[in-house]
């Protein structure tokens, strides 16, 4: 089930639970590509997460300001206006948001880019196309 809220697609998990015990984790997915947003949202839903998918870093920050229960952020690296790296920096600079784990996705496997993101505090860096097994591996570790 999904609904559109202010330009964001909110999809409920198919069942209760999630990776850990208790409330279903809420994941914020950020990607300017409509194709990749649909795919990452489906992968996250299949892992029983509650998903909000937005198309820009700016929208992501707006949502983070309103929703206190985001457990994790997964963002594309290369987006217009605000890159995923810049979003990561803003999250880690904020006292309210810095505890939220951030995972970066990119279609390019550039070692300097990966190192820079990890040094800035990203939990992991996934090369696209992202698979369900990648998400399961990373999210299980981070949200344990």
């Amino acid at each position: 089930m999904a609904s559109i809220v202010g330009g964001a697609v909110v999809a409920a998990a198919a069942g209760g639970g999630g990776v850990g015990v208790g409330a279903t984790p809420h994941v914020l997915a950020v990607d300017d590509s409509s194709v990749d947003r649909a795919i990452i949202a489906a992968i996250l839903r299949s892992s029983r997460f509650r998903v909000t998918a937005v198309d820009s870093g700016k929208r992501a920050l707006e949502l983070l300001g309103k929703e206190p229960d985001v457990s994790m952020i997964i963002t594309d690296y290369w987006m217009p206006e605000m890159t995923g790296y810049e979003l990561l920096q803003k999250v880690k600079e904020s006292s309210n948001l810095k505890q939220i784990p951030v995972v970066i996705m990119s279609s390019e496997n550039v070692q300097t880019r990966i190192s820079r993101c990890l040094e800035e505090g990203a939990e992991d860096f996934l090369v696209k196309p992202v698979r369900a097994s990648d998400v399961s591996r990373v999210f299980s570790r981070v949200l344990r």
């Binding site: 590509s33 194709v35 990749d36 489906a42 299949s46 696209k128 369900a132």
Partner: protein, 177 residues
């Protein structure tokens, strides 16, 4: 019986798409996401988003390459986008032509880019036609049983045989389904 014939048609279409390299394993991942408790119509949704996206990008690229002075950075950014979404849906041939296109962008080769755009467009139109056929047939096929696990097993075997025997169009295994 009509559903069975349509199912065979769909199997043959998908098999040929994989065998010709039009789509790769990533497309299968999308189908598996749908089948493993995903939203019905997910593959159709993603395919439609991809086609709309690709149409838009190809139009933008054509307009950019018509300019007296070509902004190769913008061209490259669009091609990068199309390459990304192609990879995400498993549109292998479109992805490969985008990779070649990017190299020509980096060399600021206008004539080369125009030719690359033609290739990308042709590959995309070919794929889109196949997707459209697939999406027209699927609703009727799904009225009867369609064992995707069996189908993907057959496709993998055909791929293996393609590599070993270099057969151009090995749909012969499907007659045993």
């Amino acid at each position: 019986m009509a559903a069975a014939a349509l199912r065979e048609q769909l199997n043959a279409l998908l098999s040929s798409m994989y065998a010709s390299g039009l789509v790769d394993d990533q497309f299968q991942q999308l189908q598996m996401l749908q089948d493993d408790g995903g939203t019905p119509g997910f593959v159709a949704e993603v395919v439609t988003l991809f086609c709309d996206d690709a149409d838009r990008i190809i139009s933008e690229l054509a307009a950019l390459l018509e300019q007296p002075v070509v902004d190769f950075d913008k061209v490259d950014a669009y091609v990068h986008q199309l390459k990304g979404s192609s990879a995400s849906v498993g549109a292998q041939k479109v992805k490969f032509t985008c990779m070649q296109f990017r190299e020509l962008c980096q060399h600021k080769n206008r004539d080369g880019c125009i030719m690359a755009l033609t290739l990308v467009r042709n590959e995309f139109y070919d794929l889109r036609n196949k997707f459209q056929t697939m999406l027209q047939v699927v609703p009727y096929v799904l009225k009867g049983p369609f064992d995707f696990q069996v189908f993907t097993g057959i496709v993998k075997m055909e791929h293996m045989l393609l590599k070993l025997k270099r057969i151009a169009c090995p749909c012969f295994l499907l007659k045993f389904v």
